[in-house]
Amino acid sequence: MTSMAAESPSTRHRVLGRGRTFPVAVAVIGAIGLAGFVWSLSIGPEHISLADRIHGTFAPDQSAPQLIVHLVRLPRALEAALVGAALAVAGTVMQGITLNPLGAPEIMGVNAGAALLVTLSVTVATSMSGESVLVLAYAGAAMAAVFVFGFARLGRGGLSPMRLALAGVTVTAFLFALMQGIFILHVETASTLMFWLVGGVNFADWHNIHMIWPWLLGGSLAAMLLAAPLNVLALGDDMAQGLGQNVARTRVIGGAVVVVLAGAAVGIAGPVAFLGLIVPHIARSLVGVNHFLVMPLSALTGASLFVWADVGSRYIGAADSQTPSGLVTALIGAPIFIYLARQQRMSS
């Protein structure tokens, strides 16, 4: 868990050495992401000319093709990029505060909390059905995270990375069990949620993006401010405390950042799996372990990956039916994770 402390000389080398690859990585991944974004704008049942796609993106008139680009395709691609970036940064912070390479926003209970509250709202607690899925999912994610932190702080020993991870896994399993219980008792109503539970940006619109971008911006800035404390924390709790860091405070702030970012992402896209787990590993394998570099590169990689996952989802299933884009992240997430594990490039 504290392998970073043991390998600190080589780490220093990696931080300094791999930092030079940062601009190249940003340029290459940015270009890949941009290509996916442009491709995403060209996919849909309506054939829309390049000129209409360009006008629709930047200055749409009231014609149907340009409105489709501006009101359906552009928010979908943008939402995929935002969700991917948010989950990736949340994953980086999560792995940083838990010193655990398996750390992911899901561990904070955000997916389970969001899924539970949304399932409740369409089944037993229909009094909540007046709320939008976005609000319900965000609230569920936040409540679950508070539960995880509360659970982790109980007893002696305070907020250690191990306790946080264990509390997260326990609470997640507990909330998912509750959700499954309700799901089974109300399978007719709840089964309509199957699509949402896979996660995706199929129903993206500007309204959701307007609701969510201030949270994403705030969360991302806070994550960048956490880069320095996370670099110190990576040396291990004892070393970090010795260097004067308030370890518990870093963890609480980090947890809050994870909730803000991942909660917003789950709110608009549902419980998307794997992104928060694998993207930080990809970023670290490219630029080393310095959070000042890993954080922005994770955001860019997460955005690119989810944009491409969403593009891929258009080619799965019936041509005229939607397939949740989260399905692709789950499908590609596992092999990428296994590949990274085999390459032994996983580090916390």
């Binding site: 949304v118 709320e131 509750l178 008792l185 019936a318 039916s321």
Partner: protein, 346 residues
């Protein structure tokens, strides 16, 4: 010691609270599962029992019956509707643990039935406790539990879920054979066709080429029922719209998830919308978009909200007639009676 004891008791308290929360949540979730389990009564109008064994063919194989079944369990709403159509009342119904899932005119006729739970996962123990002599199961949904159902009582699987209007009509005919009321059911199906013809007379010929769409909108999905599904095929039968806007492969899921662009691209002339969560469903978001105005149905104010339980779940004889009656009432403001016409023999 005292510290450890306190820590332990705190943990115990946490575990107890967690257990209590889970118990309360699950109990609350199952609260509406408690329905009347009063003993079902036999229906005396089951006709003259036949002593001879007979074999009736269903979608997934045949069933051999001895005499006339009197204690029937129905695992789909349409089977309940069809049984009521010939004066019968099932002793057990898979009503999704909610009697209000059955449309009111049918519900009124089956009072006293025992709920056998969800249509998706019927409670086999409750079914067995009813000592049925016939179970009518759904050929799609219940295919995997046919062995278990057959171990309880003779079971037949018929078409209902994901099936069009005509296969559902055929299921009614088979139910007539099962309950030894072939003649009465043939008459009732004939009456159904006459009622549909009566309703179809109100529909102008130009509506045959309209593009009608039936949509079920939920908090998280926008599901279009294709022409393979019940309601669009029923609308087509009365001359409303060419329901074949979307054509999934035969045998594929007849329900299609659509984005706003898919909807704009399909551009229906008429939309019937079953909105389970008015105000927060996916369609409510679509309706706020400037693109909504480009859909012909919206432009011409031909988007109609309909009852989700009737339009998307019922599929029986009476249910079909009610849907057709409501459709012409919504479109043409004309009330067509669905009173049963006189038919001497079918």
């Amino acid at each position: 010691m005292r510290k450890e004891y306190l820590a332990m008791s705190r943990w115990r308290a946490v575990v107890a609270v967690a257990a209590a929360i889970s118990l309360v949540t699950l109990l609350a979730a199952g609260a509406d599962a408690s329905v009347s389990r009063s003993a079902a009564t036999f229906d005396p109008t089951c006709g003259k029992a036949r002593a001879a064994d007979r074999t009736v063919d269903g979608t997934l194989g045949s069933v051999t019956l001895h005499g006339t079944p009197k204690r029937i369990v129905a695992l789909e709403f349409s089977f309940v509707d069809d049984l009521v159509a010939v004066g019968l009342k099932p002793v057990g119904i898979a009503d999704d643990n909610n009697p209000n899932s059955i449309i009111p005119p049918i519900r009124a006729k089956v009072a006293g039935y025992t709920s056998v739970g969800l249509r998706a996962t019927p409670n086999l123990e409750t079914i067995a406790s009813l000592h049925p002599d016939l179970i009518i199961a759904d050929a799609t949904r219940d295919a995997k539990i046919m062995n278990k159902l057959n171990a309880i009582a003779p079971t037949i699987a018929l078409d209902s879920l994901q099936q069009a209007y005509l296969p559902n009509l055929h299921s009614a005919i088979v139910i007539g054979q099962l309950v030894n009321k072939c003649g009465a059911m043939r008459v009732r199906v004939q009456q159904d066709k006459l009622i549909m013809a009566r309703i179809a007379k109100v529909v102008p010929k130009s509506y045959a080429s309209k593009r009608a769409m039936f949509v079920v909108s939920d908090k998280t999905v926008f599901n279009v029922h294709s022409s393979l599904a019940y309601t669009p095929s029923l609308l087509k039968a009365i001359g409303i719209g060419e329901a074949n806007i979307v054509k999934p492969a035969k045998g594929a899921n007849p329900y299609i998830v659509m984005s706003l662009e898919d909807l704009v691209s399909n551009n229906p002339d008429i939309m019937f919308v079953a909105d389970y969560f008015p105000g927060t469903a996916v369609i409510d978001g679509y309706q706020k978009s400037p693109l909504w105005g480009t859909v012909t149905a919206a432009k011409n104010k031909q988007v109609y909200n309909v009852n989700p339980a009737l339009w998307s779940k019922a599929r029986g004889l009476l249910a079909g007639e009610l849907i057709a009656q409501q459709a012409v009432h919504l479109l043409f403001h004309k009330f067509v009676s669905i009173a049963l016409p006189k038919v001497t023999s079918a």
